[in-house]
């Protein structure tokens, strides 16, 4: 399992109610049930992935986060998780607001466009960067709104969203992000993980 999921799971206490938005094949859901006794639901747009979740005995709703989050009442989950998909929405701001409405807290992870390999790729090769976390070509990527860790931090602060914890991931290394090291982390982390609340 991805290190990212272990880090997300560490942010969630036992016996909580969680919604995994874009739960894919349910790997994180299964991990949280097995290790944190989580009462968890998934929302997933792909019919194939929904079938995979059902085969694992997971409770998943086929749906689109941009349209279908509105059916959940305010603060009906302790945590809402969104892993590496914020950049793929037409309106990430709207989705982020919905996550924070439905969940008491949200855990959002973003692939960091400020990662040094990405910067070098563009600088030296002059073509759109392709990395492990961003494997697609410019013409077939689902990503519409790429951002850097710094962009995301600035954005949530401007929206008066509270950041409880910011973590930088680089392969297996996890470290805390703070105001002092933001520039460095923005260069050396390929993934940012944020625990936020509004």
């Amino acid at each position: 399992m991805k290190n990212e999921f272990k880090v997300i799971a560490d942010l969630i206490e036992r016996d909580k109610k969680v919604l995994d938005v874009g739960c894919a094949d349910g790997t994180l859901m299964k991990f949280l049930i097995d290790n944190k006794n989580t009462n968890i639901r998934g929302l997933e747009i792909s019919k194939e992935k929904v079938q995979e979740c059902i085969a694992k005995g997971l409770t998943v709703i086929e749906g689109n986060a941009e349209k279908d989050l509105k059916q959940f009442p305010d603060k009906s989950f302790d945590y809402v998780v969104l892993s590496q998909t914020l950049q793929a929405f037409l309106n990430p701001e709207l989705v982020l607001n919905e996550l924070l409405r439905v969940g008491k807290r949200a855990i959002v992870t973003i692939p960091n466009f400020g990662y040094w390999k990405i910067r070098f790729h563009l600088l030296l090769r002059g073509t759109m960067p392709i990395t492990k976390t961003l494997p697609d070509e410019w013409y077939n990527t689902p990503n519409l709104h790429m951002c850097t860790i710094k962009d995301f931090v600035h954005f949530v602060k401007s929206k008066k969203i509270k950041i409880f914890k910011s973590l930088a991931l680089n392969n297996l290394n996890t470290s805390l992000i703070n105001d002092a090291n933001l520039g460095i982390k923005n260069l050396f982390a390929d993934l940012g993980i944020f625990l936020i609340e509004k």
């Binding site: 109610k17 019919k47 929904v50 079938q51 059902i54 085969a55 694992k56 005995g57 997971l58 409770t59 998943v60 709703i61 086929e62 749906g63 059916q71 959940f72 009442p73 009906s76």
Partner: protein
């Protein structure tokens, strides 16, 4: 063997007050079972049939000598695995396969009830079927499942008896019959009552009956069970055993011949008055209305795990109407899963060999049953 010997019947002694105000008692419920009830009596699944279904879910129907209506889904090693589960299904009241209905003899006149039979509702149907639990000594069902009108019964059942099933599977259904649904049913009823053999319901099922009207009702309804794409692919403009048009009103097109066939085989097994009664019950169905127009309240008392399934090409009970049930359940934090299955087979998809549907159904049941055991 005659009709009666092939049909198992439970005579319900307990009076049942119907929504129309009348009370019935000592009435028959015809049922069938598949698989066996285990010692803990925790493996029972109550299946509800749709408008023209009956208690013969799978295998050979001894009355029609055709395959049971849900043979693709129910049976040994199938989605609803009868090696594992004990499946019960009963004919709805108002029906014509042995349960109390308009073709039953009216003790006061010695003729069939006809339209003197009380008008029944989906609520009445499930209240009558609830007696089967006592009969089999089952305290709690493992699951309730059904498509179309069967799905309406599923929703009504869990609303009436919130702690009587662990899992709940409404398929290709709605919580409230739409104007379009009512319109199609009314078309069918008008076709029946316009048949001069209907005689205000006073005909004999086995002799002269409003077969033509019933056949037209079936033909119209059958179109609503298929999708435009499915029809086009299967029939297109193909002609029926002829090179060119006959320039008359015979069945030139294959689709015409197919519909006529569907109509003709239906009248052999179905009672026109039952068709009136059951379509009426569907039209009256509006679960939210029973709870001050708040559908969520229908499910507030249950802790059951829901799994709702719709089909992309179903325009009779479209995905959105199924999703409305999901939304109502999410609004109260119920345990609900939902999947829309891709299929060109229209509303009938739930009755047909649609692998994604059958595997989803199987996986949901088997995983829930396993979890339940731990």
């Amino acid at each position: 063997m005659n009709f009666e010997k092939k049909i198992k019947t439970l005579i319900v002694k307990k009076p049942l007050k119907l929504d129309c105000g009348k009370t019935i008692k000592d009435y028959p419920i015809a049922y069938e079972t598949y698989g066996s009830l285990n010692q803990n009596k925790d493996n029972a699944i109550l299946v509800f049939h749709a408008l023209t279904g009956d208690q013969f879910v799978t295998g050979l129907n001894p009355i029609t000598n055709k395959e049971g209506w849900w043979s693709y889904a129910v049976g040994p090693n199938k989605a609803i695995d009868t090696n594992k589960y004990f499946v019960i299904c009963s004919n709805v009241i108002g029906g014509c396969m042995g349960s109390y209905g308009p073709s039953h003899k009216d003790p006061n006149t010695d003729n069939a009830f006809g339209i003197n039979f009380p008008v029944i509702t989906i609520n009445d149907m499930v209240n009558a079927q609830f007696n089967l639990l006592d009969f089999f000594g089952i305290d709690k069902l493992f699951s309730i499942a059904g498509g179309s009108m069967g799905g309406m019964q599923v929703l009504q059942f869990i609303s009436n008896f919130p702690d009587k099933s662990k899992t709940v599977i409404p398929i290709a259904t709605t919580s409230s019959h739409s104007a379009q649904n009512i319109a199609f049913n009314e078309l069918g009823r008008q076709a029946i009552t316009a048949d001069s053999n209907w005689k205000d319901g006073n005909y004999s099922f086995n002799n002269i009956n409003p077969g033509k009207g019933l056949a037209v009702a079936r033909m119209a309804a059958h179109i609503t069970y298929l999708s435009k794409k499915g029809l086009q692919e299967k029939f297109g403009r193909k002609l029926q055993e002829r090179e060119d048009f006959k320039f008359g009103f015979d069945a030139d097109f294959q689709i015409e011949s197919y519909l006529r066939y569907q109509g003709s085989v239906f009248v052999d097994r179905f009672d026109a008055n039952s068709y009136l009664y059951i379509t009426r019950a569907m039209d009256y169905f509006d679960l939210a209305k029973q709870f001050n127009d708040n559908l969520s309240n229908a499910f507030k008392a249950t802790k059951a795990k829901f799994f709702i399934i719709s089909f992309t090409s179903d325009w009779l009970y479209p995905t959105q109407e199924n999703k409305d049930i999901v939304i109502a359940l999410n609004a109260i934090g119920a345990d609900v899963g939902f999947v829309e299955i891709k299929s060109d087979k229209g509303h009938d998809s739930f009755l047909l060999d649609v692998p994604d549907f059958l595997s989803a159904l199987k996986n949901f049941l088997d995983k829930s049953y396993k979890k339940n055991k731990i």
